[in-house]
Amino acid sequence: MPLTEIGRYSLRRLEILDENGEVDPALEPDLSAEDLVKLYRAMLLAREDDQRMFKMQRQGRVGTFGPNTGQEAAVCGPALALSPRDWLVGSFRELGARLMRGEPLTHSYLFHNGYEEGNVFDGMERTLPISIIVGAQTLHAVGIAYAMKYRTEKDAAVLAFIGDGGTSQGDFHEALNFASVWQVPVVFVVQNNGWAISLPRSRQAHCATLAQRAIAYDIPGVQVDGNDALATYSAAREALDRARSGGGPSLIEAVTYRLMMHTTADDPRKYRTEEEVEQWWKRDPIPRFRRYLESKSIWDDAKQAALEAGIKEEIDEAVKKFESMDGFKPDAPFDHVFGTRHESIEEQRAAFLANLEGEA
């Protein structure tokens, strides 16, 4: 059918640091050695903590959790671009970013052991807790960004994470639409890790990329190599800067891979091949970043050894601290159902406590 062209769109992909640690100098971000090491440390800490939690889970010392192994660059790169005045609105697979925001290691143990206390820490004001209902958090991010715009808060923005599976949810569409209509400072990062439990990305959505969803809302969108921490940082940095200066929302698709199981309750051998996983281990974001640091002479084996030892010690201590915690107030849920006092709740608290005594 011959017709008039009324729109033309282009989509791009950003890669800076390749699988061998070679950097494209034209695209290399201007990061201080300190920041680079901070980013590297964050990725390694997230990896090591994941591995420790995995062991603890297998020993029955924490409950089910979803490892972020393999996705450290997709998570920590954007988090490095955050200022304390920005908000972080995560889903459930951004351990690295949470730790960078000041969440203590103990807290993910607590959370995954069934305690709300795991969500509560000093400095949490602009970091939302883990959000389990897939997709819902993206709307909270847009609302927060609206509040910033309403209060004419300058130089701050919201960074929101979601998975490739999450892009199928209606809430994600509504979030993108509200954000673009309102032109509020929010950056959406889709961690496309190839899978939503057992569903491969290709059957989650028919589009060639998830970044092209941005076109539907006329907002900037880009795909990045999600295992390239320089690319994830740069893309997020650019989008956050734009957002902070009134340029509205953006969408970043970070193409990465979940190297471990969906959660510790999952067995990925049921739905994917060892070969596929092998291929992705070769693209592991951490060794390539180490090679980059080494090539810049910021890093060497001694520093690596010291870092590993330091991280191990930090985790050991956190685990010890966590395992000595007790005194979880049994009737805390009654304290926090409402911010006001109600007779019916207090009556039920009394019944609950009386029953506890009955059990004792």
């Binding site: 206390e117 509560v120 949490m124 847009v142 809430d171 509200f178 209509v181 926090h336 006001t340």
Partner: protein, 326 residues
């Protein structure tokens, strides 16, 4: 003092609260320039501008989800659902998040917001425009559900809801929007969420209801009083959750007889909970079964048939008489 309809009274409360506190913002479909399909938000857009009186895209989950974000960031959004029949689209946001941030963070993050929604039948509206489904919200821990019955309490409770630290579902009986006026004091009044009101004192029977049913209920109470001299106490629940069980129990302990009138379908409605509360607190005072006069467990009929399905004064009167005669 001025005589006002419920629409005007809620509108007054919104004006007052927005003037008092610039963190209060109003949002929803057509609440701005159009001033709401029932004109509940009349004048707000003109007075406070489009950043505070926000016409949103047509997406209820989006409205509540972003309102939750705003509340987390320190605002106090008052979000409108154009009709309660569309509000289920935001149920997951309310159930999953609005109601939980406080407990999830042990009080460190809170969601002070109001979701307003016209509900209920009797206005000859299309499908999905006349349901009465307050029970779905009242079963959610962490959410308060308020249902005014007249202009004065609507204004006071709306002010309370806006100032409340928790998410409040504010269900407005649309059938009562304009059918009567009431004196509303000049000075702001702040209602108390969680408290029922004795709308009429009496000693022979307790009549419990809420929302639009209060009008036929009070009418039936008058009729039975004048026809046979029975003394009927009427309780207007006003808050559906948390329910004021002790107010109900006190009255029933005194009267020994109770009729509950509910517009919603019969099973698992608020009337069931009222009966359960009486069972828990005052069963041994009952001289007759509690008579529940409710809608039926059928899909809400289109409006051609709806009036037969909503309790009317005749049915309520007969119910009272049966219970008195039991």
């Amino acid at each position: 003092m001025a005589k006002m309809t419920m629409v005007q009274a809620i509108n007054l409360a919104l004006h007052e609260e927005m003037e008092r506190d610039d963190s209060v913002i109003v949002m929803g479909e057509d609440v701005g320039v159009d001033e709401g399909v029932f004109r509940v938000t009349a004048g707000l857009h003109e007075a406070f501008g489009s950043a505070r009186v926000l016409d949103t895209p047509l997406a209820e989950s989006g409205i509540l989800g972003t309102a939750i974000g705003m509340a987390l960031a320190g605002l106090r959004p008052v979000a409108e659902m154009q009709f309660s029949g569309f509000s289920y689209l935001m149920f997951p946001q309310l159930e999953g998040h609005g109601s939980r941030f406080r407990s999830r963070t042990q009080g460190r993050m809170t969601v002070p917001l109001v979701v307003r929604m016209p509900y209920g039948g009797g206005v000859r509206a299309l499908e999905h425009h006349s349901e009465s489904r307050e029970a779905s919200y009242a079963h959610l821990p962490g959410v308060k559900v308020v249902i005014p019955s007249g202009p004065r309490n609507a204004r006071a409770l709306m002010a309370a809801a806006v100032r409340d630290p928790d998410p409040v579902v504010f269900m407005e009986p649309k059938r009562s929007y304009r059918v009567f006026r009431e004196e509303v004091p000049e000075e702001p009044e702040i209602g108390q969420i969680g408290r029922a009101r004795i709308a009429r004192e009496g000693s022979d029977l307790t009549l419990v209801s809420w929302g639009a049913m209060m009008r036929p209920v009070l009418h039936a109470a008058e009729e039975v009083t004048s026809s046979r001299g029975a003394s009927i106490e009427v309780i207007d629940l006003l808050t559906i959750s948390p329910l004021d069980g002790s107010a109900i129990a006190r009255s029933v302990s005194k009267t020994g007889r109770c009729v509950v009138v509910q517009e919603a379908p019969r099973s698992l409605g608020v009337a069931s909970e009222v009966i359960a509360q009486i069972n828990d607190r005052a069963l041994m005072h009952l001289e007759a079964p509690v008579n529940r006069i409710t809608g039926y467990d059928v899909v809400t009929p289109y409006f051609g048939r709806e009036m037969g399905y909503i309790p009317g004064p005749g049915r309520i009167r007969r119910g009272i008489e049966e219970t008195l005669d039991f």
